[in-house]
């Protein structure tokens, strides 16, 4: 047990600033928390859906949970059910075998809901494109609010995409 505590104490606090506009880092993360509260009235819950990716996007989305990005510290949490989610984070291309599951996940997410497509494949089908087994970009199957390009996009860009979608949400009619 003391080794565990020692390792924690030795490393200290490693979280880094969220992608900022211009504010000082700590102020920025507080600002993001305040914005989330102002816009959503609560922390942001995200359901991730892999609709046919190569798994590289998932590796980078998982990295958002590491101590550097500390996404939960910003008030953003990945949840297990679409029924608990405000946002779907979808990677693609959407395979035909996953299209129905993605559609059902979207339908199960309560409105108002946001969809962020992650990665080149989610944005435009990527190297795989559309064929007998692939429906291509996420927007071909469900409505998309923000698309984050990259193959795969680094975690900081994914986080930027999530925050962009939330800010846009404020301007949405519903």
């Amino acid at each position: 047990m003391w080794r565990t505590v020692k390792q924690i104490a030795r490393l200290g606090f490693r979280s880094e600033a969220a992608p900022s506009c211009d504010d000082a880092p700590r102020i920025e993360s507080e600002r993001i928390q305040r914005q989330l509260l102002a816009i959503l009235g609560r922390a942001l819950s995200i359901r991730e859906v892999d609709a046919g990716s190569c798994n590289a996007c998932e590796l980078e989305i998982n990295a958002l949970n590491n101590p550097y990005y500390n996404i939960e510290g910003l008030g953003i949490k990945f949840v297990a059910s679409p029924r608990h989610a405000d946002m779907l984070l979808v990677t693609g291309p959407v395979s035909r075998n996953m299209a129905q599951a993605l559609r059902r996940t979207y339908d199960a997410t309560p409105a108002p809901k946001l969809v962020v497509a992650v990665g080149d494949c989610g944005c435009n089908g990527g190297l795989f494109g559309e064929n007998y087994a692939s429906r291509g970009r996420v927007a071909n199957v469900i409505p998309v609010d923000v698309a984050v390009p990259g193959c795969p996009p680094p975690p900081i860009e994914i986080l930027r995409g999530i925050l962009t979608a939330v800010r846009r949400c404020r301007n949405k009619p519903d």
């Binding site: 080794r3 565990t4 390792q7 924690i8 490393l11 490693r14 991730e48 859906v49 892999d50 609709a51 046919g52 990716s53 190569c54 798994n55 590289a56 996007c57 998932e58 590796l59 980078e60 989305i61 998982n62 990295a63 949970n65 590491n66 101590p67 550097y68 990945f78 297990a80 059910s81 679409p82 291309p93 395979s95 035909r96 075998n97 996953m98 299209a99 129905q100 599951a101 993605l102 996940t105 990527g126 190297l127 795989f128 494109g129 064929n131 007998y132 087994a133 692939s134 429906r135 193959c151 795969p152 680094p154």
Partner: protein, 520 residues
């Protein structure tokens, strides 16, 4: 050459590892398969191709066997209106799903196979569309259809109920369906249904220029991008008869070992987390992030995608960068040593790891378990040691093995492999030969076959490539990519029998198999 006393007219492919190819008759197909079993060989992959050219040519089923001497790629030509070939599943259980996939993709079936349910085709593809048939690829596919229900095997009896999981899973992981039949907390049976990620990669290969298809290969399974890109490039270089510069070989091995470390760091953290030890995830994910950030600085990509290119590598590293990579090995090693001690001494963690999800060495041999998971179940295969290709022929890799075959054993193999890869990385960087990093590749003006075989972090990646250079066609005729997950997914069904449902995520993670690499 002889396979276990059986003479075959084998052609040696000019690959850095010993790989032979031959065409056999249908009656010889089974005789050779039995000889391979008797010689202690393994089935690496089973696939099929359409080699028709107008009225000539035919459909072909292929199998690749791993023997002590090397890899043997056998083709059997299929004739007649109903194309069938002898069933290999009685000899190699792992053949079952590959044969079902072959039926979906090419419309050829194994004779009298006991399981003929579709595997990759969930009913959503256009009707009567066989994606690897040339006549079908030329026509525009009609509209897709809705997915159909799958006939799972039902377990009956008092108190048995089913838990369906997926395809959308609770965590940030790939899609697949698991059907558990349980009594109380105890798993009686697990049946997997995969294929959700099938996106037509093997058909796509035939539409991409061969000198750019390494990018597609590098996106078959994002966590194994280096292993796939190297296998593909090896296959392409072998059919072009071109060797790569020595320095490029060493840089490729550097990338491959860095990929192995990156994945093991991620998995070791996730395994701690799945046993409710969140400290492990925080610590290892920090190390993994440090690792990826330096990859981004040195190679220009966090996951080192597109760094391996036909003919060599895309970029060189400076002595200053090499020094930083060596320095990082020391940092990571000291942290991982501390963490290993913490894991080993944590009684709660060890209680979850020990005896959980056990695959005995006998079962592993019988079912053809491969790669990292096999080394945790007493199998001692590792291509880097058994068929060392440059630069591994000059590195003397020490392989990690365990005999218990439980989650603890798979964790221990990962720890040992991290330390060994860190040692290899330092050695590679200190002995890095100078010179060019890339040769031009000239593809032949005739039909040619090539193959690539790499020990990735998960296990053996195999690529079989057919090039068509005749009459200016200059295109990939067929590119088959094989992921070791094909062998290991069915073994996972056995590993969970008798365990409790809450241990499934832990057992699953300890294998960490690829959905994307399997589904293609």
């Amino acid at each position: 050459m002889q396979i276990a006393g059986f003479r075959l007219d084998l052609e040696r492919l000019p690959a850095p590892l010993p790989i032979w190819r031959a065409t056999v008759r249908a009656d010889t197909w089974l005789v050779v398969a039995r000889a391979v079993v008797d010689a202690g060989g393994r089935l690496v992959s089973l696939w099929g191709s359409d080699r028709t050219r107008g009225a000539a040519g035919c459909l072909v089923a292929s199998a690749a066997y791993a023997l002590n001497e090397g890899l043997v790629w056998l083709d059997v030509e299929l004739s007649g209106r109903v194309a069938t070939y002898p069933d290999l599943a009685p000899l190699f259980p792992c053949a079952t799903r590959m044969q079902r996939a072959l039926a979906d993709l090419l419309g050829v079936t194994a004779e009298a196979a006991s399981d003929q349910r579709p595997w990759l085709d969930h009913g959503a593809w256009p009707a009567h569309y066989r994606p690897l048939r040339r006549e079908d690829t030329r026509r525009t596919p009609s509209a897709g259809r809705a997915v159909v229900d799958y006939p799972f095997v039902r377990v009956e009896g008092d108190g048995v109920h089913e838990i369906p999981v997926g395809p959308v899973h609770a965590g940030i992981i790939e899609p697949g369906h698991f059907r558990f039949s349980v009594v109380g907390e105890k798993v009686l049976r697990l049946e997997q249904r995969l294929g959700y990620k099938h996106k037509g990669i093997e058909q796509r290969f035939t539409e991409v220029p061969a000198l750019q298809a390494h990018r597609l290969a590098g996106r078959i399974s994002g966590d194994s991008t280096v292993a796939y890109a190297w296998s593909y490039c090896m296959a392409l270089e072998s059919l072009a008869g071109r060797e790569i510069p020595e320095r490029a070989c060493w840089l490729r091995a550097l990338l491959l070992e860095r990929e192995r470390v990156a994945n093991h760091l991620g998995d070791l953290g996730a395994l701690g987390n799945d046993a409710a030890f969140a400290f492990g995830l925080a610590q290892f994910s920090r190390l993994r992030e440090n690792w990826l950030r330096l990859s981004n600085e040195v190679f220009g990509h966090r996951l080192t995608m597109d760094c391996i290119v036909p003919g060599g590598v895309a970029g060189d590293i400076s002595p200053a960068m090499a020094a930083r990579l060596i320095g990082q090995c020391a940092e990571i090693e000291s942290d991982v040593r501390i963490l290993r001690q913490i894991y080993d001494e944590h009684s709660g963690l060890q209680d979850r790891f020990m005896t959980t999800g056990r695959v005995s060495p006998e079962l592993a041999t019988r079912l053809g378990l491969t790669g990292l998971a096999a080394r945790a179940s007493g199998q001692t295969a590792d291509l880097r040691r058994d068929q060392p290709w440059p630069p591994y022929d000059r590195l003397q890799v020490n392989i990690a093995t365990q005999c218990n075959g439980d989650v603890a054993a798979r964790v221990a193999v990962r720890f040992d492999e991290v330390f060994e890869s860190l040692r290899l990385i330092r050695e590679i960087l200190s002995r890095l030969p100078s010179g060019e990093i890339r040769h031009q590749i000239h593809l032949p003006g005739k039909s040619a076959f090539g193959a690539g075989r790499i020990e990735g972090w998960r296990g053996e990646i195999f690529v079989a490539l057919e090039w068509d250079g005749e009459n200016g066609a200059n295109s990939i005729r067929r590119c088959h990519c094989h992921d070791p997950s094909w062998q290991n997914w069915p073994v996972l069904e056995h590993a969970v029998i008798g365990n409790i449902v809450p241990d499934f995520p832990l057992i699953n993670k300890s294998f960490n198999l690829s959905y994307a690499g399997h589904d293609l």
